[in-house]
């Protein structure tokens, strides 16, 4: 269930709709300090159901909505759409018929959230279950945030359990 494409609008520094189409193999993301590379990873985490603003470097979840710049006003909505290729069939049984599965998340500055699975509105719970059933979690080893690789080694023994638990 590799990532086929990612579309980001109004999420952090990606105010304008930005589309990434990913292939198999190795994709490198490069650019100067502060240009938005880690924000791309944050967008993927967020679409996968990340609930802690702190893990996205924010204070509140509304911190992920584009806050404006010199020349631009803040916006009222952050949206991320993540499309998966289900060719390897590892998606949960109810999605077996789909060759592509799309997960979308929206957050309005008013505080309302929307979640969609294959364009059908659902709850955050359904997004989290979807990923848990495919074995991909935001807590495991799938995503290694900037500056945190060595944490696996300097962490306390109990904290390291999650690594094995998510794989078990």
């Amino acid at each position: 269930m590799r990532i086929k494409s990612l579309q980001i609008t109004g999420f952090k520094s990606f105010v304008d709709k930005t589309a990434f189409s990913f292939d198999t193999g190795i994709s490198g993301v490069v650019g100067p300090n502060g240009c938005g590379k880690s924000n791309v990873v944050d967008a993927i985490r967020w679409a996968m159901g990340e609930q802690s603003p702190r893990r996205l470097r924010g204070k509140g979840m509304d911190d992920v909505i584009f806050a404006g710049s010199d020349a631009r006003a803040p916006v009222g909505l952050a949206e991320v759409m993540l499309t998966f290729d289900n060719a390897d069939g590892i998606a949960p049984p109810e999605f077996a018929a789909y060759s592509e599965i799309q997960v979308a998340r929206r957050l309005y500055r008013t505080g309302e959230s929307e979640y969609l699975l294959n364009k059908t509105p659902c709850r955050l719970r359904d997004i989290l279950d979807f990923f848990r059933d495919t074995g991909i979690g935001t807590k495991g080893y799938t995503i290694v945030e900037q500056g945190r690789i060595a944490e696996i080694v300097s962490a306390k023994a109990e904290e390291r359990r999650t690594l094995i638990e998510e794989a078990a």
Partner: protein
């Protein structure tokens, strides 16, 4: 379940004991469970001994050695329970040239079965990418995808 946790742990441990000497070109390492009534409460200890050195607390290792040890463990978990994709944000920051090369070699191998997204500033890591996504802020405060190069 206890049984599944124990089995997964043993499989990851078996791989870790092979992957560490491979990444370090020698030495040895292993995982162990801390003392606990219930295996579901036990913590996971790491013992890691780079080639030629004595076994000491894993915290005494250098920054680069800790990163390589962590990579050996991540690769081991991956081999037991492959994830369809891996997002790695500047994990090569603490590595010297030789270790960046070893990290890149093992990523190239794993990329046959898994999709990788690597954020990096490192010229050598950039070379192993099949595709490069360049992100810039031509307009200040606004991120833009400006270049997609195929290698």
């Amino acid at each position: 379940s206890r049984k599944r946790f124990r089995e997964t742990f043993d499989q990851v441990n078996e791989r870790f004991q092979k992957n560490f000497p491979r990444l370090f070109r020698g030495g040895k390492a292993a995982l162990s469970l801390t003392e606990s009534e219930d295996v579901l409460e036990a913590g996971i200890e790491i013992m890691a001994q780079p080639p030629g050195k004595r076994l000491q607390s894993v915290n005494l290792l250098s920054g680069g050695e800790k990163t390589m040890t962590a990579i050996a463990l991540l690769v081991s978990v991956f081999q037991v329970r492959p994830s369809p994709f891996f997002l790695l944000d500047e994990v090569d920051a603490a590595l010297d040239d030789a270790n960046v090369g070893r990290f890149n070699e093992i990523v190239k191998e794993m990329s046959a079965d898994s999709q990788f997204l690597l954020i990096t500033h490192n010229k050598r890591t950039i070379e192993i990418a099949d595709v490069l996504y360049g992100v810039t802020m031509e307009e200040r405060g606004v991120s833009k995808l400006v270049a997609v190069e195929l290698h």
